[in-house]
């Protein structure tokens, strides 16, 4: 019964989306339309219905209703409750339902609170939002119904892949989806602005919070995904440049560029067409990411060709929306007047360089990700990996770090180098000093060396914009910018330090053996079997000490799950301020000794701390913008009431 309610709610929501689509686009015309009064209520109601539908699916998973096919194929009665719930979106159908639910909720939210834009533009925006939503409703209802029943009802479910039974990865998809969907809202605003010829600073100010939210969540999603891969896969790697990772990196790069160009549009009324273009690109990248991950094309182009139903559906949506938006852009771009002018040495100038650089990196990641798929279609298989991505993206990334250090110091419109001379010299000298010191004391590769040096320079430069300001009265968005830029430096430091200085030990050990790695000494005391709710494991007990300090015990496990059968490595991590000791237990060798894998990874945690700082910077900025908007609206309301009262008095 609950499943049927969920399905019915989803159909109703789809019908409302069609209404919103028609009402929105008709209402966007000159003169409006009678049904456009229904658009906002339709969006709000749709959000409620999607929430009901998603709630129904989560309920079916919570009670392990095995008559629902999706539950039977992806859950198991003996799984811990938390993973039963997260199982609701750890599969294709459920995750698409989550996607559309997040989209409906954000659509409802704009319909409910956004009153700043002209009516016609708002209608066009909500119409565009519904247009995207209808495609996804159709996709779910026609080819990925999550509420399909199963008869006869099986005795128990198939269970969830053991690798996914982890708290980190449970919240990974929702985080990324909020990011993807936030970009769909930015896209809808861009289409609305194009349709009604309203590319104004006001539009940028309304769109900006959505880009920020989306960017914050994408950042957190990427950081969490990277950390999950690091500790769950058991080999100490944190970024692989594989297509699934790139699928989330590309929207992030586009969103970062959009965020910066929207700031220029909001503050200075410049970069109008460019901002619209980025809005279209950013959402295209979200769609492309979904297509790559959901269509099965990554496993093999041929597998995709054999069972192309879902893949083709998403590909058709992708072509329709991106193609449509680009055509609209081509038709309307020339009607957007050129924005305000600025000189090369200005905040805008630096931000243009940032945008071009980010777009170039995006282009490279896109090329490296799609090219192997393209050649595979012609039966030529090539691999593109770190040896390609690292140096080629560094060509653009390193100059961008320079701009990142200098740009925030510049004034809008026009500036002179003399004014910012000292901060630039200080940061430059610090970078060179770090470069010399590192090169003198250790022998490392060129890229890590440059990385370490520039991390120092950027870290110092990132707080320079605060110089001469009253720190208590500095606006939150400025703090946000400084913190986010500092986060880049911290993450870069972590990446470079781990790449340059990590140490690895692979040994076969038996109880009593001592392993030395870097400053650590590890003693294997015993290996014993342990059991959990749905797994058994062999657990290694080790005593480790850092530079002959006090001993601590760590317990890496090799786990075996039985529903479905699978093995995972639960690594033991020992975190210090200056790095992490990483211990993984492997198989037993024929002579009865056990495979141990140990890594000492100096400053590796700074990668994720840096990522979190970047997200925190975004959050500070968002808070500042939202508080500012609320305050402005309150003043406007107060002024209006006063004016009305004065008019009343004058009449009396």
């Amino acid at each position: 019964m609950i499943a049927e309610i969920g399905l019915a709610a989803l159909w109703l929501a789809a019908a409302l989306a069609v209404l919103q689509l028609l009402g929105g686009f008709l209402g966007a015309r000159e003169g409006g339309s009678a049904i456009s009064v229904l658009v906002r209520p339709a969006a709000v109601l749709q959000a409620g219905l999607c929430a009901v539908s998603f709630g129904a699916l989560v309920y079916a998973f919570a009670v392990t209703d095995l008559s629902v096919k999706l539950v039977a194929t992806h859950s198991h009665s003996m799984k811990p409750l938390a993973f039963k719930l997260s199982g609701a979106w750890a599969n294709h159908e459920g995750s698409m339902l989550l996607w559309i639910t997040v989209m409906a909720l954000s659509g409802g939210l704009i319909a409910l609170i956004e009153r700043r834009l002209p009516d016609r533009m708002m209608m066009a925006t909500l119409g565009a939002q519904a247009c995207v939503a209808v495609g996804f409703y159709l996709f779910i209802l026609l080819s990925s119904n999550p509420f399909e029943r199963l008869s006869p009802v099986p005795a128990d479910g198939n269970g969830l892949n053991p690798l996914l039974q982890d708290m980190g990865v449970s919240f990974h998809p929702p985080t990324l989806y909020i990011g993807y969907v936030g970009l769909s809202v930015a896209f809808s605003f861009a289409v609305g602005a194009l349709l009604t010829r309203n590319v104004t600073p006001e539009f940028a100010r309304v769109m900006r919070p959505w880009v920020l939210v989306s960017w914050i969540f994408l950042t957190i999603g990427i950081v969490a995904g990277s950390y999950w891969a690091y500790y769950e896969l058991g080999w100490g790697g944190w970024w692989f440049w594989d297509p699934v990772e790139n699928a989330s990196l590309m929207p992030w790069l586009a969103a970062t560029a959009l965020l910066h160009s929207a700031s220029v549009l909001a503050a200075r009324d410049a970069l109008r067409t460019w901002t619209i273009m980025l809005g279209v690109i950013a959402f295209s990248m979200s769609m492309l990411g979904t297509f790559l991950v959901r269509s099965g094309i990554l496993t093999s182009v041929h597998a995709f060709a054999v069972d192309p139903e879902r893949g083709s559906f998403i590909l058709a949506l992708l072509a329709l929306y991106i193609g449509g938006a680009l055509v609209l852009f081509a038709l309307r771009a020339n009607t957007i007047a050129e924005g305000e002018r600025f000189s090369l040495l200005s905040r805008e100038g630096a931000l243009v360089v940032n945008n071009v650089g980010l777009s170039a990196i995006l282009g490279i990641v896109l090329l490296g990700t799609l090219y192997p798929l393209l050649t595979e279609a012609f039966d030529v298989r090539v691999s593109v990996g770190p040896p390609y991505f690292n140096p080629v993206s560094a060509i653009f990334f390193l100059p961008m770090l320079l701009i990142l250090a200098v740009g925030p110091l510049l004034r809008w419109r026009k500036d002179s180098f003399d004014r910012i001379k000292w901060p630039v010299i200080i940061a430059g000298v610090a970078t060179l000093a770090a470069l010399t010191a590192v090169a003198a004391f250790s022998e490392i590769g060129l890229l890590p060396l440059l990385g370490l040096a520039m991390a120092v320079g950027v870290a110092i430069a990132s707080f320079m914009p605060l110089k001469g300001r009253n720190l208590l009265r500095t606006p939150l968005p400025v703090w946000g910018m400084c913190v986010a830029h500092f986060g880049i430096a911290v993450a870069l430091f972590g990446v470079a330090a781990d790449t340059a200085y990590q140490q690895e030990r692979l040994v076969a050990a038996s109880a009593g053996d001592v392993v030395e790695i870097g400053p650590w000494q590890a003693t294997l005391t015993s290996i014993s079997p342990v059991a959990g709710p749905n797994w058994t494991a062999m657990q290694g007990d080790l005593l480790v000490s850092y530079e002959s300090g006090p001993q601590q015990d760590v317990h890496p496990q090799a786990r075996s799950f039985w529903a479905p059968p699978g093995e995972t490595s639960e690594v033991a991590l020992l975190t210090r301020w200056n790095g992490q000791l990483y211990v993984a237990l492997g198989n037993m060798a024929e002579d009865g000794r056990w495979q141990l894998r140990l890594w000492w990874k100096p400053f590796v945690t700074y990668i994720w701390y840096g990522g979190l700082l970047i997200a925190l910077g975004g959050a500070l900025s968002l808070l500042g913008r939202v508080v500012g908007d609320v305050r402005r609206r309150r003043t406007e309301v107060r002024d209006e009431t006063r004016r009305a009262e004065e008019a009343e008095l004058a009449r009396a």
């Binding site: 892949n161 999603g221 692989f240 991950v293 000189s343 650089g357 282009g363």
Partner: protein, 141 residues
């Protein structure tokens, strides 16, 4: 949504055979390092740029798959015997095809990978020059 998709597939493809086979490592150098730190370093860097052919998007240095273990053994043995990483890579490519190497070589099929970034670089330069250069001139005029 990123790593777990491939991990899921990799796991589906490998857990069954892994559980079925005995617990003996496939080859001595699959899980053992070389004694010479320089050679081990060379082998390690090389292994990170070779694809595990049975996994989805994992290098042989990051995989528990038996075939990845075999390949690690091959790489370490050959490096220890004095071959250069380049030679080992060439040998693996001749045996398994271009697909095994994450480092694409310029060839008739892969040239766009190297030409397009150059085009991108030129394009970026032109955009910057036109947008910013023109504005500066107009401002000073």
């Amino acid at each position: 949504m990123m790593r777990w998709r491939l991990a899921l597939l990799a796991a589906m493809a490998f857990t069954l055979p892994a559980a079925a086979q005995d617990r003996m490592p496939p080859a001595p150098y699959a899980y053992t390092q070389l004694d010479d730190p320089t050679k081990e370093q060379q082998a390690r860097e090389l292994m990170h740029t070779l694809r595990c052919l049975k996994c989805q998007s994992q290098s042989i240095a990051d995989s528990d798959a038996p075939m990845a273990g075999d390949m690690r053994h091959q790489v370490r043995t050959r490096i220890a015997a004095g071959e250069s990483p380049k030679e080992v890579r060439a040998w693996l490519v001749s045996r398994y095809g271009d697909y095994v190497s994450y480092e694409p070589q310029v060839s008739s099929t892969t040239w766009p990978l190297f030409v397009l970034p150059l085009v991108l670089l030129l394009l970026a330069g032109t955009i910057l020059f036109r947008r910013l250069g023109a504005r500066t001139r107009e401002d000073s005029a």
